[in-house]
């Protein structure tokens, strides 16, 4: 039996053309220019942002504490405060430098700074993932809605659905979409983060899909083919997802949803 099936599959092997291969190679290779993501650039941008917001906060506090009669006076006051702050920091640095034997990481100031930088980076990462999440879910909702409309039209024609049956099918699809949205949303908020898509998400998605198929089978007496959103890959990444969101969101999801072992 195994040999028979193997031979069956072998016999169905699609032929490919040397000419087509050569043609595509000739068209693609001259335009070959890989885009390499630069994570250090992101880190640098975050640090620059943190530094800029720090300066802005100092300047703002200065203005709020001592409102000046005009702009020039306000600027002068800010500058004075910054000079005083700078002098205080210099004095603090001199004291710390005079203490021999302390390791760099053991200094309270360094520890506080490291903790602050870490907090800013974590917060920035959280915000970034929230943005990805919102863009992704907005895309998924829109796209799935269209797919469901197409599927309902097909199912209505194929199974001659009455209004009541159509409403039930729509309800099944709506619940399926809501559950997958929850799954994707959970992913962005740390559910599976750091481990790729992983088995947990795959299994959860399969469970949702199988439950939907079972419910449709009860309604239609068989599981219809080409269900919308039946594959996790249907929820991105794909070129529609890339253009409907942005390159970064697409790239992030591409990375996250690569099949794990």
């Amino acid at each position: 039996m195994r040999q028979d099936l193997d031979n069956l599959i072998r016999a169905a092997r699609p032929a490919t053309s040397d000419l087509a291969r050569q043609r595509v190679i000739e068209q693609v290779v001259p335009a070959f220019a890989p885009v390499r993501p630069m994570p250090w650039l992101r880190v640098a941008a975050v640090l620059a942002l943190a530094a800029a917001s720090g300066f802005a906060a100092v300047a703002w506090r200065g203005r709020a504490a001592e409102p000046a009669p005009d702009t020039l006076d306000a600027l002068q006051a800010d500058l004075t405060k910054l000079r005083q702050r700078s002098d205080a920091l210099d004095a603090r640095a001199a004291v710390l430098a005079s203490r021999g034997g302390e390791t760099a990481t053991g200094r309270p100031l360094d520890q506080a700074l490291a903790a602050e930088v870490s907090r800013v980076l974590d917060e920035r990462e959280r915000q970034r993932r929230e943005q990805y999440r919102e863009r992704h879910l907005a895309y998924a909702r829109r796209q799935y809605q269209q797919e469901v409309e197409n599927a309902v039209v097909e199912l209505r024609a194929r199974y001659r659905l009455g209004d009541d049956q159509e409403a039930q099918v729509r309800k099944v699809f709506a619940e399926h979409g809501a559950q997958v949205e929850t799954l994707i949303g959970k992913h962005y908020r740390g559910g599976f983060h750091g481990k790729g898509r992983g088995r947990g998400m795959d299994h959860e998605f399969d469970r949702i899909r199988e439950a939907t198929e079972d419910r449709l089978a009860l309604l239609l007496a068989e599981v219809p083919r080409n269900l919308p959103g039946a594959d996790l890959a249907d929820w991105g990444p794909n070129p529609v997802f890339a253009t409907a969101t942005d390159y970064e969101t697409w790239l992030n999801w591409s990375e996250e949803t690569r099949q794990s072992g």
Binding site: A12, V29, P37, E255, S260, G261
Partner: protein, 198 residues
């Protein structure tokens, strides 16, 4: 991904060894080269995987050669652009097939509303039967999850060894073997279901 310094070219790539200056490199090394902008390494990747990816495209879009070639061109264009961000958590072949699948879906969505032209009538009955059977096999393969389908076609269509499959899919050899076993079981189930009543 495990390194395989003497990975042979895929069947059907008769010109691989002579046409490239980097024929002996394994897939991860070629990917690394391409990520560094090495055009020759990328060309070799294309030569090595073009046919295998093309056959996956045919599974999705059917035997219409013009459509399949369009999808292949778009797929490889996206691979060329995106390979810099490929981290190697999956195998290159898995990644490439996923891009191909998305491209094929995009095309099918785009042209879903267009009327389907009738297939040209074959003058041989035996040829018709063969095509019908092949289409049924393709349908069965399409219904398999990707994680089972890819190892199965790599073994039976591309004639890859387990070690080469592990390299292409970015999986341990043991996992490849177990997936092959389960893929055959799944295929048998789907095939019996499809041919019931025929």
């Amino acid at each position: 991904m495990a390194g395989t310094p003497d990975e042979p070219p895929l069947p059907g790539d008769s010109d691989t060894a002579s046409a490239s200056a980097v024929p002996a490199l394994d897939t991860p090394a070629l990917v690394a080269g391409a990520q560094n902008g090495d055009r020759q390494a990328f060309t070799e990747l294309m030569r090595r995987y073009f046919d295998a990816v093309m056959r996956q495209i045919v599974l999705y879009v059917g035997a219409d050669r013009a459509s399949a070639e369009d999808v292949a061109q778009e797929t490889w264009w996206r691979i060329a652009r995106g390979i810099g961000g490929f981290s190697g958590r999956s195998g290159f072949y898995t990644w490439a097939c996923r891009i191909a699948r998305n491209e094929a879906h995009r095309r099918l969505r785009k042209y879903r509303a267009l009327p389907v032209l009738p297939e040209p009538v074959q003058d041989s009955g035996a040829e018709n039967d063969r095509n019908d059977r092949a289409e049924l096999v393709h349908e069965a393969l399409r219904r398999l999850p990707e994680k089972f389908r890819l190892p199965l076609v790599l073994e039976l269509w591309e004639e890859r060894s387990v070690r080469e499959m592990a390299d292409a899919l970015g999986l341990p050899e043991g996992t490849v073997k177990s997936r092959l076993f389960r893929a055959r079981e799944k295929f048998r189930e789907v095939w019996l279901e499809l041919t019931r009543g025929h």
